[in-house]
């Protein structure tokens, strides 16, 4: 294992150090360096401190664990791999993500999962243990977003979730009585069959962060999907 003291490194030098390191790598005293592990595969990286914006951008198979909070745009356009955050994440997590998974123990900021997409077997997933800010899943085009709202007293999502959603699935551990969704979406209580599809993500979340899987699985969930295959039919052009 390589251990790197990030103090004094800018993001270029720090990423060069990580690329040169052994497969298992630990970063200590991280403070705001951006683009950590961008585009990497075949590495297992643990970060102590506060990584900067666009952590794991374009990630291509590497595994990142952050012991603390992460900032904005975690996993921006990531393709494969896994990012685990033992804290909260900032805005726009998983921006345009196209594969791999992000697990967050705490809360997510605004616009988590904005413009996520999927293609055949490349189905990205974000699991948020706490609550998510406004515009969750904005323009979602594919992939899976799960919000568990653990230890969360009021609504588990902010305003305007799923604005512009036209693909993928969102699963919220709530009856969503007080949440307003846009039209053109199907919002319904998740059935046992639905839950089977999401079980592996919830199991992994519980394994990573030590939550009670049975209790979570037995709670009421709401599943949100686009209503038709072409939700914007005739909205912009006569198609």
């Amino acid at each position: 294992m390589t251990s790197i003291n990030a103090t004094g490194y800018d993001f270029v030098d720090l990423n060069n150090q990580i690329r040169k390191s052994e497969k298992i790598c630990e970063l200590n005293n991280c403070l705001g360096q951006r683009f950590i592990s961008a585009g990497l595969k075949n590495k297992i990286i643990t970060i102590n401190g506060t990584p900067g914006n666009a952590l794991g951008a374009y990630l291509n198979g590497a595994e990142i664990t952050v012991n603390g909070n992460a900032q904005d745009a975690v996993g921006d356009t990531m393709n494969d791999g896994k990012i685990v955050i033992h804290g909260n994440i900032g805005d726009a997590a998983g921006y345009a993500m196209r594969g791999g998974s992000i697990y967050v123990k705490g809360n997510a900021g605004y616009r988590a999962g904005i413009h996520m997409k999927e293609y055949k077997d490349k189905i990205p997933a974000i699991v948020i243990g706490g609550k998510a800010g406004s515009f969750l899943g904005e323009y979602q085009a594919g992939g899976i977003i799960i919000v568990l709202g653990l230890k969360c007293s009021n609504e588990i999502v902010g305003n305007f979730p799923c604005t512009g959603m036209h693909g993928g699935k969102m699963l919220l551990k709530s009856d969503c009585k007080n949440v307003r969704f846009p039209e053109n979406l199907s919002v319904k209580a998740a059935t046992a069959d639905d839950m089977k599809e999401f079980e592996k993500y919830i199991s992994e979340f519980c394994r990573l962060f030590g939550a009670d899987k049975e209790q979570i699985m037995n709670s009421p969930f709401t599943i949100i999907t686009p209503d038709t295959k072409n939700p914007y039919k005739q909205m912009y052009v006569m198609n």
């Binding site: 993001f11 705001g32 951006r34 506060t50 900032g90 805005d91 605004y110 406004s134």
Partner: protein
């Protein structure tokens, strides 16, 4: 060289702030440290700081910080100041020669008091008089720019990266109970000293990350009340809006936030009746002061500060605490640079004002 007003500037930027709720004074070292991890948010074309509680020995006077292009401008400025005020002290603002900061103008500081005979003959209160004189200088006197004019506080700004600007002004030698900071990323023009943040009027200062799209609508409205947007940067107009709503209209900070970052009508519709009526009133009466487009701002004022995001939250902002101090910054890393043990880190929602005040009576420091 084209300056602001001749060319439009959208900006990226970094902001940060620290305040002691106990009114304990701290020097400028920590706030400079906070800008280092956010270095890449700026591009070296502007950095600045506002500090509160730094001039306790002159707390009765207005501290004017002035850029003068040359000695002729300086002499003209001083002549006008002597006609307009009692000038208690006049000096250069101490700076440190460093290779990172070049082409500085003449940088002066004047501690002044309005003459009571003038005030009574003009039937103006002190603050309004200072605003009018400063506006007159900034509008009419070529090559002179008053960039700070509050009591017991001051703005310090320059072209450069913020951490260098802090060293240039020797901010480690000042002690204040509240500091704000800004790193600038103008992308269209060379940037100039007056265009750096904070923008200050009386004790109000604004540091701003973002680019407001309502600038012209806001400017047209605010200029009806005697303000002059000489620099034509978006941030300048927010400072005048704050002064207009807080000082002249007497709105509270929360009401001011509800004007600048008014909730959507859809959101207002679902509020309880009393709140709904109030929000509707504010949005209707001050509709021209709604600020749209991405922004996160920190408004500094005597005894406190207010942080606010645009209602869509198109810019980042994080708040943290430790002991008597509250920290606010564009990135958590900046807070950790000031206080590694900061707790209760959270991101305020769009349009949610975070207001921190020093305990009453403690603003002059201990």
């Amino acid at each position: 060289m084209l300056k602001e007003g001749q060319v439009r500037i959208p900006s990226g930027c970094a902001i940060s702030a620290v305040i002691s709720k106990e009114g304990k004074r701290m020097n400028g070292e920590k706030i400079i440290e906070s800008m280092k991890p956010m270095h890449d948010r700026s591009n070296g074309l502007g950095g600045g700081f506002a500090a509160y509680g730094i001039y306790p020995e002159y707390r009765q006077q207005y501290a004017l910080h002035v850029f003068c292009n040359d000695k002729i401008c300086k002499d003209e400025c001083e002549k006008f100041l002597k006609e307009s005020f009692e000038v208690v002290k006049s000096e250069y603002i101490p700076t440190r020669k460093i290779p990172e900061i070049t082409d500085e103008p003449i940088i002066r500081r004047y501690f002044v008091s309005p003459l009571s005979s003038v005030l009574s003959s003009m039937q103006l209160d002190e603050k309004e008089y200072v605003v009018r004189i400063v506006t007159k200088i900034n509008t009419e006197m070529k090559g002179v720019y008053v960039f700070s004019c509050g009591k017991n506080m001051g703005a310090f700004k320059a072209v450069g990266f913020p951490e260098d600007v802090g060293r240039f002004y020797k901010l480690e030698e000042y002690e204040g109970y509240c500091w704000t900071a800004h790193g600038r990323y103008p992308t269209n023009t060379p940037g100039w000293w007056g265009g750096a943040h904070p923008f200050a009027l009386l004790d109000y200062t604004i540091v701003h990350n973002g680019e407001i799209s309502s600038y012209d609508a806001n400017r047209r409205f605010i200029e009806m009340f005697g303000y002059k947007c000489n620099l034509q940067t978006d941030t300048e107009v927010i400072t005048y809006i704050a002064d207009y709503l807080l000082r002249r209209q007497g709105l509270t900070l929360n009401e001011t936030a509800s004007v600048i970052a008014a909730p959507f009508w859809k959101t207002i519709k679902n509020k309880p009746r009393a709140e709904r009526e109030k929000l509707t009133y504010l949005r209707t009466v001050f509709s021209s002061l709604l600020v749209t487009g991405p922004f996160s701002i920190i408004l500094g004022f005597e005894g406190g500060l207010m942080a606010l995001n645009d209602r869509l939250k198109l810019r980042s902002m994080v708040v943290g605490e430790y002991e008597d101090k509250v920290y606010i910054a564009s990135e958590e890393a900046a807070i950790r640079a000031m206080e590694p043990l900061a707790q209760n880190i959270y991101s305020p929602a769009g349009g949610e004002a975070v207001i921190i005040k020093v305990k009453d009576g403690d603003i002059n420091g201990r």
